[in-house]
């Protein structure tokens, strides 16, 4: 058990502790009704545990971040390479996912079945996924199988074989999966929103077209594999119950001699600015709900505007206590599932609001969403809201720390965005340093409803109520 404390984080936390219950008399904007006096106050916050991350680089240039911890007897390892679907060749956009899927399907040393059985024998499994910026292979298992986990990851990263019959099966299954996706409203709205928000930027792609899938072949996959899977464009993260020195030796042995050729995968360009409001309608006959999705581009994780944006988003729509949830769910009953998210990429970020609402309240729900968006820039958030949002982010940090896979994913996401692992320890301090004025400024710049692209997927009959918000354009997904 390692419970070192960081003085910076401690002082930041001490400021926020117990503020909630004494904030009612604050002179800031309209605070909600005071909480019942019977509720016991929050106790003193205990120190935040500090991370211990062993950073190294192999002779071949592979970045290695190890987080050895006691206790929970499992190990999670992720191997990420630069170059996700945003790096797919022209005409083959989105097929990076097929490349990722096939990584599980065999190497020059192991069949797909052998991989699955070897990992099952140590209580684990293999996963592989393509995001916009990276392809990530993950393996886990009981700590007693740590070496096997690393062996299989190294084998996949170096020797994936793309056997012809596996390629054909993956293509056929991808085509059928696309049909399944096209029948869900969330996929349709995601696809249309991404295309509108990102314009010509390669982040616009959320899935390949059937035509692109048909063009994929073994030679293409092997070429793309060689281009992206190289030590100097890769990260290995291992989190769990293992000995750091011993894993470092295994990594040097298993990845020794791994080479890459040619130029590294280039970065995607900057994101386009947020666009003036546009309403896009996708007809989905038979829908009993309208799927609303609003979105715009925003800052990335390294941008100073990120942390005020995160807190503003939390207050706007980030949890049960948020304004949007209280308004369109708890007061009006328009929806079960309102959600606001702020996600980032290597280049910039995106803010999104989604809600599924019954057909007859489509326009009524949009009015409330616009209202809550615009309110973020027009009035200050309350002291209780700001304190609550900070404490929520701090709590999520602590709770996320306890999940091996979450720690590994957070570190991987930092690396993909070109950020150091130290951000882990700095995260809570950055959250707690944000002022109410900065949240208001984030509201003014990131939340205006006039800068949101609006997608509505649903019955043709709901369209007539949308025109009052601006021109409505029919879109075929």
């Amino acid at each position: 058990m390692k419970k070192t404390s960081s003085s910076v984080l401690l002082s930041a936390l001490a400021v926020s502790s117990s503020l909630l219950l004494v904030a009612a008399g604050s002179a800031a904007a309209a605070e909600p009704k005071a909480l019942p006096k019977e509720i016991p106050p929050f106790g003193q916050d205990r120190p935040l545990p500090a991370p211990r991350i062993l950073k190294s680089t192999t002779a071949e240039g592979l970045t290695v971040w190890l987080v050895p911890r006691d206790g929970f007897p499992k190990v999670t390892a992720l191997l990420a390479v630069r170059g996700g679907t945003a790096s797919d060749p022209k005409g083959l956009e989105g097929t990076g996912q097929i490349l990722a899927d096939l990584l599980k399907e065999g190497t020059t040393h192991r069949s797909s079945r052998q991989i699955a059985e070897e990992l099952q024998a140590i209580g684990g499994s293999l996963s592989a996924d393509a995001s916009d910026d990276a392809i990530t292979v993950g393996a886990d298992g009981l700590a007693t199988g740590t070496t096997r986990i690393l062996e299989i990851l190294a084998d996949v990263a170096r020797n994936a074989s793309f056997r012809a019959e596996e390629v054909e099966l993956a293509k056929a299954n991808t085509l059928q999966q696309l049909q399944v996706k096209e029948s869900t409203p969330e996929f349709l709205s995601e696809k249309v929103l991404a295309a509108a928000v990102f314009g010509d930027h390669p982040y616009r792609i959320v899935a390949p077209t059937p035509e692109a899938v048909r063009k994929v072949d073994r030679d293409l996959l092997k070429g793309e594999f060689a281009r992206r899977f190289r030590p100097d464009g890769a990260l290995l993260v291992v989190v769990g119950a293992f000995d750091g020195a011993s894993v470092q030796r295994s990594v040097a042995r298993l990845f020794g001699g791994w080479k890459g050729e040619g130029p590294l995968v280039p970065d995607a360009g900057p994101l386009p600015a947020a666009k003036a409001r546009e309403i896009l309608f996708v007809s989905r006959p038979g829908s009993v709900q309208s799927s609303l999705a609003l979105g715009r581009t925003g800052p990335g994780l390294a941008d100073p505007a990120y942390f005020p944006g995160v807190l503003a988003n939390t207050i706007y729509g980030g949890d049960f206590a948020s304004r949007l949830t209280q308004n369109i769910r708890e007061e009006k009953g328009y929806t079960y599932s309102p959600r606001a998210s702020f996600t980032t990429f290597r280049a910039g970020g995106v803010l999104r609001t989604t809600a599924e609402v019954r057909n007859e309240v489509t326009a009524a729900a949009l009015v409330e969403i616009f209202y809550e968006l615009d309110r973020m820039g027009t009035t200050d958030v309350t002291t209780e809201e700001l304190t609550g949002a900070k404490r929520l982010q701090t709590g999520r940090y602590l709770l996320g720390n306890q999940v091996q896979g979450s720690v590994a994913s957070a570190l991987e996401s930092y690396w993909v965005r070109g950020l150091p692992p130290e951000l882990l320890a700095e995260y809570v301090g950055k959250v707690n340093a944000v002022t109410a004025a900065e949240v208001r400024e984030a509201g003014r710049t990131l939340f205006p409803s006039r800068l949101q692209t609006v997608v509505v997927v649903g019955e043709e009959s709901v369209k007539k109520d949308l025109a009052q918000f601006g021109a409505v354009r029919d879109v075929k997904p």
């Binding site: 019942p36 205990r46 079945r113 099966l169 989190v239 602590l398 994913s409």
Partner: protein, 466 residues
């Protein structure tokens, strides 16, 4: 997938993909992993379970009531779940909204879900919020501030939940509601836990009151807390906040057991929202108390637990009849440990347009018949049991995961500490146990199939895929 665990809300985890850093470590030993478990029952019948872990300053808490949709009133389908929503609508002291404000202000996250045999209310938070959150939980166990307005609000919210998860979605959870409805006979086991809109509309404030009076009593509840706490401290606090709640006796659980079916049941369906055909296959199983249950869990894992499973290798690979396969014992209700029973062993797959449901079922039958005859191989059984043990540990990784499983185990089996015995009990399952259970339950006579095919589309859709 937890399809039929009807939740209060979606989780908001997507928001914190970047906010999940590293550090602490959990404090359990690496081999033969066991949790500290202490249990105590208050005078009013409330059972308290504590599992300390000081590796990080957080705690998880699960309050489980032994009532789910299985025993909700007839004519009131969906009521147990609607009631779960009402538990967040305020009390005489803490009106609507206070609960969420305090949990968020404490840095915590909460949710709730309704299943067949229990309803759980879960919170995870920094341990500095422990007293406030215990107070909130005790406050709503004392009584609710019910109003017609709040009931109407949550009725609307629940209907939106059903629209988003069932009515507006291809497949619409048919592999739960329609399959279980067809396979099981008693109303308690067969009815739709999400409920009909007519029954939801018929629910009254008086119904909410009487359901609360009957089932939301301390003696019908278990509260489990895991994390940065001491047992004595928790017992004292629970006594302080919950000790004065009057005791009432909950209705005795009726007999809901069912015998295995004696002839195959088959349901053909069309789905206007789907474009790819799908099937669900279920086999009726006894509850968690049966000696056959754990072997059935192992069998489910052998058949559909990941890329080394027999159905995956035989149907997704091999004959290439399915696009994907999911399933196992008590799927999609929850993990195998989250049920009293009866339940099903269920398999769900999307199939290729070049085949049919009957062909898929026959191919499955070939695979299961081989196990019913010769059992699993020794290597296969060993691998699968190791994976199950590993998955169990994963479920116990966080304090909330521990608290929840301990509270559920206490509720469904009468022993929270029994969670610690599961790894040894899994290891003790023999090839003959698995063979016997396959031969007894995974039979054509005990099989129910729902074949769900895309409905002909009224408007000419653009050609997609193949």
């Amino acid at each position: 997938m937890n399809a039929s665990s009807l939740r209060r809300g979606q989780t908001f985890l997507a928001l914190v993909a970047l906010a999940l850093p590293s550090l602490g470590a959990s404090a359990a030993p690496a081999a033969g992993w066991k949790l500290p478990v202490e249990t105590r029952t208050l005078k009013n019948g409330l059972t308290v379970v504590v599992s300390p872990d000081h590796s990080a300053p957080t705690f998880g808490m699960s309050t489980v009531y032994r009532i789910g949709f299985r025993l909700e009133p007839k004519g009131r389908t969906g009521f147990a779940h609607l009631f779960e929503h009402m538990m967040f609508e305020g009390t005489p002291i803490a009106p609507k909204g206070v609960y969420d404000r305090v949990v968020q202000g404490g840095g915590g996250t909460d949710n709730a879900s309704t299943s067949y045999d229990f309803t759980n209310y879960i919170v995870k938070a920094p341990v500095s919020a422990l007293d406030a959150i215990l107070w909130l939980e005790a406050d709503r166990m004392k009584g609710l501030d019910l109003s017609e307005k709040n009931l109407q609000n949550q009725r609307d919210v629940v209907k939106e939940e059903i629209r988003v998860n069932v009515l507006n979605k291809p497949y619409g959870l048919f592999f739960w509601t329609d399959l279980f409805g067809k396979a099981l006979d008693r109303w308690e086991n067969a009815h739709d836990g999400y409920g009909s809109f007519a029954d939801l509309d018929a629910a009254t404030v008086a119904d909410v009151k009487s359901f609360f009076e009957a089932y939301y009593t301390p003696s019908n509840a278990v509260i489990a807390i895991a994390g940065d706490v001491e047992s004595a401290e928790v017992f004292a606090k629970v006594e302080k906040y919950f000790g004065e709640i009057p005791s009432r006796t909950a209705p005795k659980r009726p007999d809901v057991t069912e015998a295995a079916n004696t002839a195959e049941r088959w349901l053909d369906q069309t789905d206007p929202l789907a474009q790819v055909p799908a099937l669900a296959v279920g086999f009726k199983l006894p509850g968690i108390a049966s000696k056959d249950y754990l072997p059935a869990v192992v069998l489910g894992e052998i058949l559909a637990g990941g890329d080394a499973s027999r159905f995956y290798l035989g149907l997704v690979k091999g004959k290439e009849l399915l696009l994907e396969i999911s399933g196992g014992t008590n799927w999609p209700v929850g993990s195998p440990w989250e049920i009293e029973g009866p339940t099903l062993m269920t398999f769900f797959g999307l199939y290729k347009p070049t085949t049919g449901a009957r062909t898929v079922v026959k191919t499955m039958e070939g695979i299961t018949a081989a196990i019913a005859k010769g059992g699993p191989t020794a290597a296969e059984l060993s691998r699968v049991k190791t994976k199950m043990e590993s998955d169990l540990y994963a479920a116990l990784e966080t304090p909330l995961g521990r608290a929840d499983l301990l509270a559920i185990a206490q509720t469904t089996t009468g022993s929270a500490a029994g969670v610690n015995d599961l790894p040894a009990r899994i290891r003790a399952v023999t090839a003959e146990d698995v063979r016997r259970v396959a031969a007894a339950y995974v039979t054509a006579a005990n099989r129910t199939v729902v074949d769900r095919r895309p409905a002909p589309r009224p408007d000419p859709a653009p050609a997609k895929g193949q």
